[in-house]
Symmetry: C2
Subunit: 377 residues, 2 copies
């Protein structure tokens, strides 16, 4: 076992005073860094596995820049292993080094556009990678997992707001979304087959914003695919104007409505899910509840309301004090008018609620983007 | 390149006189052996990759017994490689040895029951294994694939007969079926992403029977999960009686109705699909049809009509001359009353039709089972 943190640094879950050791796959990415920081603040011993595929700066260092900043912000250290989850042998070695209480599995490719042109990469990294991770977890008797899923598993919304009872896997328009859906189903089958497993799938809506320090945020590599990073780049002058795909939707201002969630709220959602899963006692043979399978749960993580493209633009202009040039272009195939979540299940069962506003999201996105721009100069 | 067959042994597709080289994964199994034999009879140069996981006898030999019998029956040889499709490195070496025109991908775990208790094994071998195979194919520019899918992708039938337009992936009751559905979708995404690919998914109904010689057939390991092998084992006295799950379905005699297809018809279906796919010209950049993606097609392979459990029992009694003791027990969860195919698309587009009757299926199943029983004495 690796060195345990001092008594004073012990992670606490409810009344159980013990060091909690959590493996975070993909811990160097956007959701990863904010989640790791959240865990460190809860005195969890965090081990990160990341292949640095999504990290464009500091990935030639012993520890990538993003994780160094997390350490600076928290004043604590993270164990980092540059390992691909498809590398079963290396992964197994890490499982021998620590006794993990839980795995938070964030490692994945996440570009919808790339997934359409390179689907095999998505099925390799997301689906096959997860199968490998699960095999190694099973082999090492680690049976608690928090999985980074996505609202894309719902496909085209059949009704609004979308709750967790909404059908999944139908009319999913891209391989990225399908890879998340497949993984959810694999996890469900695994829990059905074995009562020891506990899995929580967190279905993210649109994570945006950054840590209040402005020191960690979404990696600004290339042209952003998502609205807010794009808006931010227009605001700082790195891109000329924002293309708005369609302004004739049946929404208040004609532009698409989406549910945005502040990355800090999302990170807190991961801690809430981790606390819940650590309290779950796996049913043992003969115990009450055994035979019914393990525990598989899915929760929406969103703000629970929608904002239009123009809402976001106006808010960003307001917080940044800069005008955002907008160009209305044709609708994109596969885009829907509106999508937003019902997050009441997470409120009830995870005792968690998104509290940051759209203004917060824009403000910290702008701060991070400015910081990164300065840093890049 | 490995040694080419003599001119006199050249595989012919339509008017194109050239040696056709086909990789058959899982070529030592039930569908595999019959398909390989069919290909050899068409003078195709056949290379088999199999990890022998589904082969219980002769798997310690250089070439397993099943494949030796195929060679005896055909008077031709097969190149055999004991390789797991998850082993990318070994698989790649095989792709460097030959220039494959097409891959027939049959390697998979296939027990519905086992898939419920060991889902990870199914997602590893079937889904992740296929992703590895596709990566190696892509790397080596082999872009034609015939895939062994299953009618289980249709889930609970929404209407009868089931044609290829029937929804897939909904209410699929087991991980085996889900693994086949996931692979179909992965293949579809791959074809959408790249016009060079041609894929045909063959959705098998219930393959039964054996080669007329009685020398190859379904491996009789353990207690069979499927009806006809079970009936056969009762007939030869290895099992006492047949459990019939439910006799109160809304079918003519109250027992479940299924579509059975003779394995020889199925093997011919693979050759028909192979011929079609070899004729497909992959669209190249700039060519007409390019941009619309590659070709992804799915065909039902069944008899196109259903037989009840009691139909099968009576037919088997008649051809074997032995009584089959039957025990009516409760319905199994997930079983439907009736399921049978509309195979008219395959008739039109593959120029193939199942011609063997239920009597043929029972007769050759009995012959194979008797042969195997004698052999085991």
């Amino acid at each position: 076992m690796a060195g345990s943190p001092d008594k004073s640094e012990e992670g606490n879950v409810g009344n159980v005073a013990q060091v909690v050791v959590v493996l975070v796959t993909g811990g160097c990415g956007y959701v990863g860094t904010h989640t790791v920081l959240q865990l460190l603040e809860q005195n969890v011993h965090v081990v990160v596995v990341d292949n640095l595929a999504g990290v464009t700066r500091g990935n030639d260092e012993k520890k990538p820049t993003s994780l160094e900043r997390v350490e600076e912000l928290s004043g604590k250290t993270v164990d980092f292993h540059n390992v691909d989850i498809n590398d079963a042998e290396s992964l197994d070695k890490i499982f021998k080094l620590y006794r993990f209480d839980c795995v938070i599995h964030l490692a994945a490719l996440k570009s919808v556009g790339d997934s359409c042109s390179l689907p095999l990469d998505y099925y390799r990294n997301n689906v096959a990678g997860t199968v490998t991770l699960l095999e190694i977890m099973k082999k090492n008797q680690v049976v608690k997992l928090v999985f980074s899923s996505s609202a894309t598993v719902y496909g085209e919304p059949q009704y609004l707001p979308i709750d967790e009872q909404h059908v999944t896997g139908q009319r999913v328009t891209n391989p990225y979304g399908r890879s998340k859906y497949f993984i959810e189903e694999i996890l469900r089958d695994l829990c059905t087959s074995d009562p020891k497993w506990s899995v929580i799938c967190l279905r993210y809506f649109n994570p945006v914003g950054a840590h209040p320090s402005g020191r960690i945020g979404e990696d600004p590599a290339g042209v952003p695919c998502n609205l807010m990073p794009y808006v931010a780049q227009v605001a700082v002058g790195r891109l000329e104007k924002l293309a708005v795909y369609g302004n004739d939707y049946s929404t208040p201002d004609g532009t698409g409505v989406r549910d945005y969630i502040h990355i800090m709220d999302l990170a807190e959602g991961h801690w809430a899910a981790t606390k819940k899963i650590l309290k779950e006692k796996g049913a043992k043979a003969g115990e009450e509840g055994a035979g019914a399978g393990g525990s598989w749960l899915a929760y929406n993580l969103g703000l629970g309301r929608g904002y239009s493209v123009l809402d976001v633009v106006k808010c960003f202009e307001s917080v940044s004090g800069r005008p955002i040039a907008v160009d209305f272009v044709q609708r994109r195939e596969g885009d829907v008018a509106s999508s937003y979540s019902d997050c009441s299940l997470a409120v009830r069962q995870l005792e968690w609620k998104a509290s940051r506003t759209l203004t917060d999201m824009c403000k910290y996105c702008a701060l991070w983007c400015t910081f990164e721009s300065l840093h890049l100069l």
